[in-house]
Symmetry: C2
Subunit: 201 residues, 2 copies
Amino acid sequence: MQYPKEIGQLIESFSKLPGIGNKTATRLAFFVLNMDNNDVKEFSSALTKSKEDVTFCSICGNITSRDMNPCAICSDSSRDQTTIFVVEDSQAVMAIENTNDYHGLYHVLNGVINPMQGIGPNDINMASLLSRLKNHPEVDEVIAGLDATPEGEATSMYMARLIKPSGIKMTTLARGLSMGANLDYADSITLSRAVSGRIEL
Amino acid sequence: MQYPKEIGQLIESFSKLPGIGNKTATRLAFFVLNMDNNDVKEFSSALTKSKEDVTFCSICGNITSRDMNPCAICSDSSRDQTTIFVVEDSQAVMAIENTNDYHGLYHVLNGVINPMQGIGPNDINMASLLSRLKNHPEVDEVIAGLDATPEGEATSMYMARLIKPSGIKMTTLARGLSMGANLDYADSITLSRAVSGRIEL
């Protein structure tokens, strides 16, 4: 016996999402059956709209609505135009924005160099960053805000090699203990970075 | 800063699903952005179709396509018409069908009596079961296949009180150790049920 084909299709669609197996997909599909009609319609149209109406900013590579390109940050002339914060993806932009601590511009690579997965510098938004720097001599600092992974660090080093010769300051995020971290349980690489980067009080 | 409204809407829709918080919803929404266009379209139409084209079987209450009512099981005259297996929901029908051990009919209550949540006998498909039994004197056994929860057991007892006077045999699923269960870790209620229901070898 099979579920009605409409449910079967919904279960299959849910199970294509990451971290959702067949059992969870079934549970979600049955939940949808009991959901408010309007909520389901909104969900359905949000799916297609997100594909149709979301695009990448022509300047920084961040996601943006098709009717708002360049994106809200690139179009905001009140932001500090001399600093570019380079991140891996749009979610990182949101994370930094939520700190309310940074008021410059961004550049979203949409990936990092990862030779194991065959991702080279040409597969990410690296060239657009370099030409952006060439066309905007007012930029005097590039912050490499990539993940603290081997790939993220390698990409930062690669970027620094290309950018530093033009005299632009290149920084990366501080490595150290997370706030609230317990020294006993910190891994040794984090700990040695925290020691070598110690700050005078 | 906010995500583009199309993404924001998709995140909100995902986070309405059970067990999916804001972070997972964001991860899923970004996954959708990178999904194959056709997969997203299928997903979107599966959502609306599941609401539009799925209904409950007019006989047994199981979910079925709108163009297949009564459902496939109720319309299958080769099945044993003398036994009705009463379950809580359509997923239970699927679970029993997957055992390939039962070939009779079903009745889906779509719930159990739960006074704490204000669900009484009139809020589930109980009346339709009783009238079904009245109209089909060939039924000689009703199996109460409800969950082994207090609510499930109370509903079984309630059903038995209504059905047994008409001379129909009323059974419930055996309680005992799950296959592969370790006696040491079985809870005491399961264990005492397993002892009182012991089987001669």
